[in-house]
Every structure is written in structure tokens, then in C-alpha cells.
């Protein structure tokens, strides 16, 4: 590589200008009407001069270039000869200078993306007044990424005055306002705010000393931080635990924010849609838990958890009713599973995953409890291996700890049944002798695939399960 390639900066072909007058047809604008209106007004009064910044040809062999970084950001004032952007050619990175004074109105090709030589990569406005127009042009030029739209929404909703200067204090004051608040934001938070076009003044800081952290900005921008490869989920969903809170409303409500799914949430969503193709039915059953509670009190100190007890009970019942542990893979046959693997639904910040207790019928309570602790820890640190969350043959979902008395779970595709467990609470029960007594009762509700599991099968399974729970000595054997 010869030095001469690096030396000339900004070859003449580089930022040649083409004036774009404000004569673009109005229908090209894609923003809400209110904004378009003011734009039209502006267009008619200002003799707009917007120049395009082109991808320069940095070498004779260069056909396209990649934007390494924008040295200037949108809204920055540029003076002639200043470096604006760094472009990577097939040979080297070079600073590209502007030939005109003005304001960088819009970045058309963001950092990390490529554009062919001669394509506009940014727009330079002569005055502040033209920035809006330039931005609209940039938007209509296409290629604006979805997050940008999301982030732009609040801006469009606010009055279109003062387009560049810091927007006025938002109507909804972000923090209990005791006088003018000094906004403290961390370096990365500022960078993210700039990148996602979030007004840092509107972000509520939740970090130490009320400072704005990167997470706060991401939340404001509607981005869920990408953690290292969240394992895909083959997951069930208890309706209440389902993460898809943003119910799709088809009428657009101003000010709404769109939060894209994380990988895990997307997997849940996909599974939920798939579950619709399975004909399911539900059977409920009351189970007395006094004996189980007494056992739990005894073994709790040894590290046994309620989850392990229930999983063990379900596994033992399944051992007697293999059809409930089966699955229907092709709609033509039963697939009887050789082992009983109890998947247990676990909600983890905004997601849902089902760590699997393998061979739950064969392991004793203590091993099972230990295994469970290990799985939960792995789930928390996102280190579950695929076989640890997708090998379930039956799922257990428990919302009892929230006080839920009964609920109905959606059957995860590929399994025969899922059990939804409610809270165990003192309930007046009429005995066979006709006397009332108060017993701890919990309602379990099983959803099953009716192609393979029929009502009587499920009823029998539930009866066995109730018997095991009500006489739990067998659990400890």
C-alpha cells in the first residue's frame, strides 16, 4: 500500500453538492400530518439549500465504502475543511472533509453500514431551519432503521418548534421536581442516548445518586439489553407469567413505545402461536396438602424445596400413567417417552424458561432439590445448556406463591400435558361423614393434548397425583 493513497484527503469527487430545493412532493413525507403541515409552511418561505454528502471514491478500485464512524453527529455545526466522517475503503480508513459550512442535518448511512461510491451518506443543511426538511428527506430516502422510528415517535408528537435546541422540559416531569435538577449521566449512557436519539433530559436516572445509567437510556429507547446469547425457549406459558404484556392494539395511541422482543421473548411468542394448532382441554382437581405441608416443614431444613416435592409427586404419578407423559409428534401416533423429565416454568427478568429435572421419578428428593438449585442458578446466569431446558416431557407451572388460587396453562408444543398449580390455602371441606373441617387445599389444573390424552386418562392421573400428595410418605422413599 503506497503512502500516496493515504495522503490526499478529500478528493474532489468527494462531497460535491447538489442543491435540493424544497420542491419535493408532499406525499413523500411519511410523518404525522401536523408536522408535515409546518414543513410545508417552512418550505414555502425558506429558500432551502440542502447538500448531500456523497460516499467518496478513495481509490481507483473502490466501488463501495463502509462508514467507520461519524466524527460529527446530527445537529453539529460544520465548517469547511472539517473532518465529518471516517470511511473505510478496501485499503484504508480515511477522514472525509466537508467542502461547505453548514449543519449536519441527517445521517443517511449509519456507522458500520456500507454505501456505493457516489451514494449520499449524509445531508448538510445551511441553516437550522432546513434541518427538519433535510431529515424528512433522509427519512424518505429510505433505509431508516426501525429503532429510529420508535425513538422518533415522541419527537414527532411534541410541538415542532425548536427542532435543534434541547427540547423544553417534558410535560411529565421525570423525577420529583425539587428545583432544577442536575442531570448526571454516565459516559456510556450519553453515547447510547446519542446513538438511539433519546433525549437524555427526559430519562429518569435509576443509578447510584440518581444518575442516568446505560440501562436507563436503553429502557427509554425501548431496547432490551442484548445479553450473551439467551437460550431459545421451548417454552410453555402460564398465561399470567407470559411476558407479552404489550398487547397489540390496532388503533395507534400517541406516545406509546414499541419494545421489540428479546430472543427469548420471541421464542416464547413463536411457541405460543404454535400451541394453537394443538387441541387441548383442561381438567381441574382439588388436592389436600396438610400432609405435604407437614412433610415440607420436616425436610425444608435439608434443602428440599416445594418445587422438588411437586415435581417428584408429578413424576411418580406419571410413572403410573405413561400416556400423560407421552407426546403426539405427527398427529398419527403416540410417542411414549422413556424417561420422565419434569420441566418447571421459571420467570426470569422479562423472559420465561423451563429448566428440566431429568428422571424426576428416579432421583430422590434431596438430589432433585440440589439439581433444581443448580438449574435455577444456571438459568439466572444464562448458562443452561439446550438439553437442560428443552428435554421436558411434562411441565409444571406454579403460581401459588403469588396467591393465585387457580389458573390455566398453555400446553407447550411437543408435550402431552402441563400442570398449573395454585396456592394451597385453608379451605372448609365437607367430609364423607357430612362434617365440615378446614383443610389446606390447592387446586391443580392440567392442560393436555386431547389427541392422545383423554378425559379419563387425565382424571386418573390427577387422582393418583392427589393420592401421592395427600399421603406423601412415598415421596421420601
Amino acid at each position: 500500500m503506497s503512502s500516496s493513497l493515504l495522503q490526499p484527503r478529500a478528493p474532489p469527487s468527494l462531497s460535491s453538492s447538489s442543491s435540493i430545493s424544497g420542491s419535493k412532493p408532499q406525499w413523500r413525507f411519511t410523518s404525522p400530518p401536523a408536522v408535515t403541515f409546518t414543513r410545508r409552511a417552512r418550505n414555502s418561505t425558506v429558500n432551502a439549500k440542502i447538500r448531500e454528502i456523497f460516499m467518496p471514491a478513495l481509490s481507483s478500485t473502490m466501488t463501495e465504502g463502509k462508514i467507520v464512524s461519524w466524527i460529527k453527529s446530527e445537529g453539529d455545526v460544520l465548517s469547511k475543511g472539517e473532518s465529518v466522517v471516517v470511511v473505510e475503503s478496501d485499503k484504508a480508513d480515511m477522514d472525509v472533509e466537508t467542502f461547505y459550512d453548514g449543519i449536519l442535518a441527517a445521517i443517511v448511512v449509519p456507522e458500520g453500514e456500507s454505501a456505493p461510491v457516489g451514494a449520499p451518506i449524509g445531508l448538510l443543511a445551511e441553516t437550522e431551519a432546513e434541518i427538519e426538511e433535510a431529515r424528512a428527506k433522509a427519512a424518505s430516502a429510505g433505509g431508516s432503521s426501525p429503532p429510529k422510528i420508535a425513538a422518533d415517535a415522541p419527537v414527532a408528537a411534541s410541538p415542532p418548534s425548536a427542532p435543534v435546541a434541547a427540547p423544553p422540559t417534558p410535560a411529565a416531569a421525570p423525577v420529583v421536581a425539587d428545583g432544577p435538577r442536575k442531570i448526571v449521566s454516565t459516559p456510556f449512557a450519553k453515547k447510547l442516548a446519542k446513538q438511539h436519539k433519546v433525549d437524555i433530559n427526559k430519562v429518569v436516572g435509576t443509578g447510584p445518586f440518581g444518575r442516568i445509567t446505560p440501562a436507563d437510556v436503553e429502557a427509554a429507547a425501548g431496547i432490551t439489553p442484548v445479553k450473551s446469547t439467551p437460550p431459545p425457549v421451548t417454552a410453555p406459558a402460564a398465561t399470567a407469567a407470559a411476558p407479552a404484556k404489550s398487547a397489540p392494539t390496532f388503533a395507534e395511541i400517541p406516545g406509546a413505545t414499541v419494545v421489540p422482543f428479546t430472543t427469548m421473548q420471541a421464542a416464547v411468542s413463536k411457541n405460543m402461536i404454535e400451541s394453537l394448532s394443538v387441541p387441548t382441554f383442561r381438567v381441574g382437581y382439588p388436592v389436600m396438602t396438610d400432609a405435604l405441608d407437614a412433610l415440607y416443614a420436616k425436610v425444608k431444613s435439608k434443602g428440599v424445596t416445594m418445587t422438588a416435592l411437586l415435581a417428584k409427586a408429578a413424576a411418580m404419578a406419571l410413572a403410573q400413567h405413561p400416556v400423560v407423559n407421552a407426546s403426539c409428534k405427527d398427529g398419527k401416533s403416540f410417542t411414549y417417552n422413556s424417561s420422565i423429565n419434569i420441566a418447571v416454568a421459571v420467570a426470569i427478568n422479562g423472559g420465561l424458561i423451563t429448566p428440566v429435572l431429568q428422571d424426576a421419578d428416579k432421583l430422590d428428593l434431596y438430589l432433585l432439590s440440589e439439581k433444581w438449585k443448580e438449574l435455577v442458578e444456571k438459568a439466572r446466569s444464562k448458562q443452561l445448556q439446550p438439553h437442560e431446558y428443552n428435554s421436558g416431557t411434562f411441565t409444571l407451572s406454579n403460581l401459588g406463591m403469588f396467591g393465585v388460587d387457580r389458573f390455566d396453562a398453555i400446553l407447550p408444543p411437543g408435550q402431552g400435558a402441563i400442570m398449573a398449580v395454585g396456592v394451597s390455602k385453608p379451605t372448609p371441606v365437607a367430609g364423607k361423614d357430612g362434617y365440615f373441617s378446614v383443610k389446606n387445599q390447592m387446586l391443580v389444573n392440567v392442560t393436555a393434548d386431547h389427541r392422545i390424552v383423554y378425559g379419563a386418562d387425565l382424571a386418573a392421573f390427577l387422582k393418583t397425583f392427589a393420592k401421592i400428595v395427600q399421603e406423601p410418605d412415598s415421596l421420601t422413599m
Binding site: 500500500m1 503506497s2 503512502s3 493515504l6 495522503q7 467507520v68 464512524s69 466524527i71 471516517v86 485499503k91 484504508a92 480508513d93 477522514d95 442536575k182 448526571v184 454516565t186 459516559p187 456510556f188 450519553k190 453515547k191 443509578g207 447510584p208 445518586f209 444518575r211 446505560p214 445479553k227 450473551s228 446469547t229 446466569s381 444464562k382 448458562q383
Partner: protein, 575 residues
């Protein structure tokens, strides 16, 4: 017999190579024994078995006895074999840092009876609180960076689960490295027979040094020549309250007792830059506070610009330039660290930062207090000891103080460990009768960020200034790491090498490298400058392919030296 011993010893232990040379050149058997057989007896015993495997065991024992006796005798002698009659030592060095160590090693090689005075631990700043432990931290940060960069890993086809670290483990690595290097240094001094005198050294008069505890009576020794090599300490500006926990200097930071979520680094020189590399790799966010208008002052502007694009902008770093931190208060009573900033020019208050920690990296101040300089009529300048180009100390009247030298950070010429060492060697050359002037322009410097930055000689603005003054033209050549096979194989194409030269005679004025292993690549250029090699000659040197060194090879090849000028002509061509 004698030569047989020395040969086998030297071949068996790398440290003794030097002493062998020393013995050979001085041809004094006494000296040889003294220097070699000193405290590390055990090691030599182990080696001896091998070395004397052909000898009878009885003669072996006799020899051992001889060695011991000789050592004893030499210790009681003074000025032994050298012309410096009436002195305890030929050379006394105050300060056992890298500078003092380098000088001592070379002095032994030259046959001088040498003592080194150290009031703290051997190794000084570099080994204990500077270059060495920081390299351990940077080694960690480099790996973290790589492992965290999913894109980078993916481009290799590698899959790595989320990388994490154990802070104490990282801190231990730094501490262990420092301890290891410190021991190596101590052992090398001991094995060469350099007397390590513990205590604070004070110059009490011409050719006289006292050492001992501060305030104690101490021991006075005489020396033909004295080298002051007391180094420096972190400079803490006025108004900054260092508590060692939330407001810290590099001394504290290297212990890595905490990894704050957000840390301000005051000063964006190479110390600040290296720490920003460490902290951001470990998950901290960093804010630089720089008094000058540009980050990374002191680097070639073009390199600085590229470095900023790679080392600052994409990382969790922001910065305030052109501001002074006038007041820094540590975190206490549930309040964060506060840093008051004023405009460097207008002195107007500008901002107050509230962060978790602050690292003061505003440079280093010479450590020259209590040296007894008044006894030889020397006045420090801003703490630095004034010296001439031969490191001879200059007194308050502007005259040279005979037999007194100052090397390293204490003279402020070039505050780098290897510069101190080079200065020490230069002084030893002089006191052993050979005039020597060190060319500071040939001393390379490096900043061990990821990627690294290195430089030698002049920056482009400095070269242009010099060219204008002296009336010559300069040429600039640049090569990119993007075109280098090895760099691309490592997926580390980011980088540039820049050569500033004289097209008229092919002289290398400066070389600046930013890119993978830049710190290792610079030496081809620094050696060329030191030896006066011209571009038209070095460009024919062959480099192995594919290696990163080809970046430098291309750099030399792309320089355009006027070919009618032969290398013998040093006359500048008038413009």
C-alpha cells in the same frame, strides 16, 4: 582452570554471562570471584555439579573453599584493582529502580566496585508501582476485550460463552508479576556482587554519601562517582484530596482493590490511557479530564486522532478537554466523589462531576527531597535535578558538580524506565573513561493499550518546526495494518505506521505506530535512529513473511529518498 570455571558458569546461567564478560575484560581473578560467588551460593551449587562433573569431588570442595575465601577477602578490600584509591566504592548509586539497576549491571561489567542504596524495595516505581504491574492488568484487559467482542470471535468462527473475571485474581496476577520481577532484579544484583545498602541515601559532600534510617546517624561511605537515581512519585495537583480508596493515584489503582462503575481519569497521557483500557475492559465507564484542548497530548496528532477513534470513541468513555480539576473530594457520608472543573483558559467554573472514583494521572513529580543536594550547592528546578547532556549535575551557579550524576525521572529529561537505564549506562561509560552522549531521540516510548501505540523521535509538528528552522524538507510515509497479512489473520487490521524523514538524505526523524504489537515493532526504527542507519540502506533489509514487521518494511520502502544522494553525504540540501 579459571577460564574453565567461568565458561561453564556463564553457559549455565544467563545472569552470569555479564559477570563473565566483566571478569574477562578486567582480567582480575579477584573481581571475578567477588562478583560471581556472592549470595546465591545455593544456585551455584546446583549448577556446579553439572559444570564440574568431570572433576574429582575433592578438588571441587577445595575450589568451593577458595571461592568463599576470595569473596571474604574482596569484601574487606577497598578500591580493589581500580585506580580509585581511598574510596569505599568506585560507584554508589542512590535508588535501586530500573535506572539504578541498569547502571549497576553495567558498572560491574566495566569492573567497578559498586554499591546501590535503596530505602524502599528494589525495583522502584517501574517494577512495583508502574510499568510491570500495569502490564499484568493490561494483559488481562486485552484478553477480556477479545473475549467480550462477540463479533471478533465470530469472525474467527469461535464461540465463547460470556467472559467474566475475578477481581482478586486479576489483582493477584499483577502483584505476583511485580514480586517475581523484583526478585529477579534483586537476585541479579546480588549474584553480580553489587552491595545493596538499605536506607535512605543522602549526599553529604563531594564523593560522600550517607545511608541509613531517616533522622538516624547513618553510615558515611565514599565513592569515586555517585549517581542519583531516585525516580519519581505520582504528581497530585493542588486541591486534590487522595484518600487511596475513591480518589487514587496509579500506585493505588495498580492494586485493583475495586473496579468502580464510573471513574474519572484526570490526565489523558499514557498512564491515563492505559488505565482507561484496563477499566473499560473490566466494565467501568470512564470520563477523561484533560487540561489541554486535545486528548492524548504528546502523541503525534495524526496517531492521536486515530487512537481516539479506536481507543476512546467506541468505548464507554467520554471526556472534558480544556478544563482543570481544581478540587477533587473523595466519596464520604454517602456522597459521591465530586470533581470541580474550571475552564483552563478563562478560569471560569465549568462543571461539577459526581462519580464513583477518580484516578489522578496528571504525570509524575521527581522524588528528590532529602537527598542533601544543598551540601553540594545544587538547587532543584520544580523538583528536578538539573543535568547536562551527559547527566552531570549542574549546581546553582551553573557549574558542573564533579563526580555527581543524576539519571532517570529525577532529572526529568525523559521519564521512562528504559531511558533511565540507558542514561545510567551512558554515565557508567563516562566514568570508566569513555565519553558517551545518549541520543534521546532514539529512545522509543510505548503505550500498552489495545491496540498499542509506540513512537520514537520527533512528532510531525516537531519535525516541521525543526525543518523550518534548519531549512530542510521533510517527507511523510504511511502504511496501514490493513494491508498486512499477519494483522489480517489476527483480525486486527486497525492500525497505521507513520514515518517522518528527510527526503534529501534519508535520515529517519520519527516513527509512530498505532496497531497490534506496535510496542514491539518500534525497535527496528529506534535502532536505525540510534545507529544512524538511513532509509536507503534499511529498506533493503529483509523481513520474514508473513509478519507484522512487514508494516515497517513497507514503511521504509514507501519513503521517497532522492536517489542521487548517497548515504555518505550528510549535507542538507538547501531548499
Amino acid at each position: 582452570m579459571h577460564s574453565a570455571i567461568s565458561l561453564s558458569l556463564s553457559s549455565a546461567s544467563p545472569i552470569t554471562v555479564r559477570s563473565y564478560d566483566g571478569a574477562g575484560s578486567s582480567s582480575s581473578s579477584d573481581l571475578f570471584f567477588r562478583n560471581n560467588s556472592a549470595p546465591s551460593q545455593l544456585r551455584f551449587c546446583g549448577l556446579r555439579r553439572e559444570a564440574f562433573s568431570g572433576c574429582k569431588s575433592s578438588s571441587n570442595a577445595v575450589l568451593l573453599k577458595q571461592l568463599r575465601q576470595n569473596m571474604k577477602i574482596s569484601a574487606s578490600l577497598s578500591g580493589n584493582g581500580t585506580p580509585s584509591k581511598g574510596f569505599d566504592y568506585d560507584l554508589v548509586i542512590i535508588g535501586a529502580g530500573v535506572g539504578g539497576h541498569g547502571a549497576a549491571l553495567h558498572a560491574v561489567e566495566k569492573g567497578l566496585k559498586t554499591a546501590i542504596i535503596e530505602g524502599d524495595v528494589v525495583g522502584g516505581t517501574c517494577v512495583n508501582r508502574g510499568c510491570v504491574p500495569s502490564k499484568a492488568l493490561l494483559a488481562v484487559s486485552g484478553r477480556m476485550r477479545e473475549l467480550q467482542n462477540e463479533h471478533h470471535m465470530k469472525s474467527f468462527g469461535l464461540q465463547v460463552a460470556a467472559a467474566g473475571y475475578d477481581r482478586q485474581g486479576v489483582a493477584d496476577h499483577a502483584e505476583n508479576l511485580a514480586a517475581k520481577i523484583r526478585n529477579n532484579l534483586t537476585n541479579s544484583l546480588k549474584s553480580l556482587g553489587v552491595d545493596i545498602l538499605t536506607g535512605v541515601g543522602t549526599v553529604v559532600g563531594p564523593q560522600k554519601v550517607k545511608y541509613g534510617k531517616v533522622g538516624g546517624s547513618g553510615t558515611v561511605i565514599t565513592a569515586k562517582d555517585i549517581i542519583i537515581a531516585t525516580g519519581s512519585v505520582p504528581f497530585v495537583p493542588k486541591g486534590v484530596e487522595v484518600d487511596g480508596k475513591t480518589v487514587i493515584t496509579s500506585d493505588h489503582a495498580l492494586k485493583l482493590e475495586t473496579v468502580p462503575e464510573w471513574i474519572v481519569i484526570v490526565g489523558s497521557g499514557y498512564i491515563g490511557l492505559e488505565f482507561s483500557d484496563v477499566y473499560t475492559a473490566l466494565g467501568s465507564e470512564v470520563t477523561f479530564v484533560e487540561a489541554l484542548d486535545q486528548l492524548m497530548p504528546g502523541f503525534d496528532p495524526e496517531i492521536g486522532k486515530l487512537a481516539q477513534r479506536v481507543l476512546i470513541n467506541p468505548r464507554k468513555i467520554d471526556y472534558h478537554t480544556g478544563v482543570f480539576a481544581t478540587k477533587i473530594t473523595p466519596a464520604k457520608d454517602g456522597k459521591p466523589v465530586t470533581i470541580e472543573l474550571i475552564d483552563a483558559k478563562t478560569k471560569e467554573p465549568k462543571d461539577t462531576l459526581e462519580v464513583d472514583a477518580a484516578l489522578i494521572a496528571t504525570g509524575r513529580a521527581p522524588f528528590t527531597q532529602g537527598l542533601g543536594l544543598e551540601n553540594v550547592n545544587v538547587e532543584t528546578q520544580r523538583g528536578f535535578i538539573p543535568v547536562d547532556e551527559r547527566m552531570r549535575v549542574i549546581d546553582s551557579k551553573g557549574e558542573l558538580v564533579p563526580h555527581l550524576y543524576c539519571i532517570g525521572d529525577a532529572n526529568g529529561k525523559m521519564m521512562l524506565a528504559h531511558a533511565a537505564s540507558a542514561q545510567g549506562i551512558s554515565v557508567v561509560e563516562q566514568v570508566s573513561g569513555k565519553d558517551h552522549v545518549l541520543n534521546h531521540l532514539s529512545i522509543p516510548a510505548a503505550c500498552f493499550t489495545h491496540p498499542e501505540i509506540s513512537m520514537v523521535g520527533l512528532t510531525e509538528p516537531q519535525a516541521r518546526e525543526k525543518a523550518e528552522k534548519e531549512g530542510f524538507e521533510i517527507g511523510i510515509a504511511k502504511t496501514s495494518f490493513k494491508a498486512n497479512t499477519k494483522a489480517l489473520a489476527e483480525n486486527e487490521g486497525e492500525g497505521i505506521a507513520k514515518l517522518i524523514y528527510r527526503p534529501d538524505n534519508g535520515e529517519i526523524l520519527g516513527v509512530h505506530i498505532f496497531g497490534m504489537h506496535a510496542a514491539d515493532l518500534i525497535h527496528e526504527a529506534s535502532n536505525a535512529i540510534a545507529l544512524g542507519t538511513r532509509i536507503q540502506d534499511i529498506k533493503y533489509a529483509v523481513h520474514a513473511h508473513p509478519t507484522l514487521s512487514e508494516v515497517i518494511d513497507e514503511l521504509f520502502k514507501s519513503a521517497k529518498v532522492k536517489n542521487d544522494v548517497s548515504c555518505a553525504v550528510a549535507e542538507p540540501v538547501a531548499v
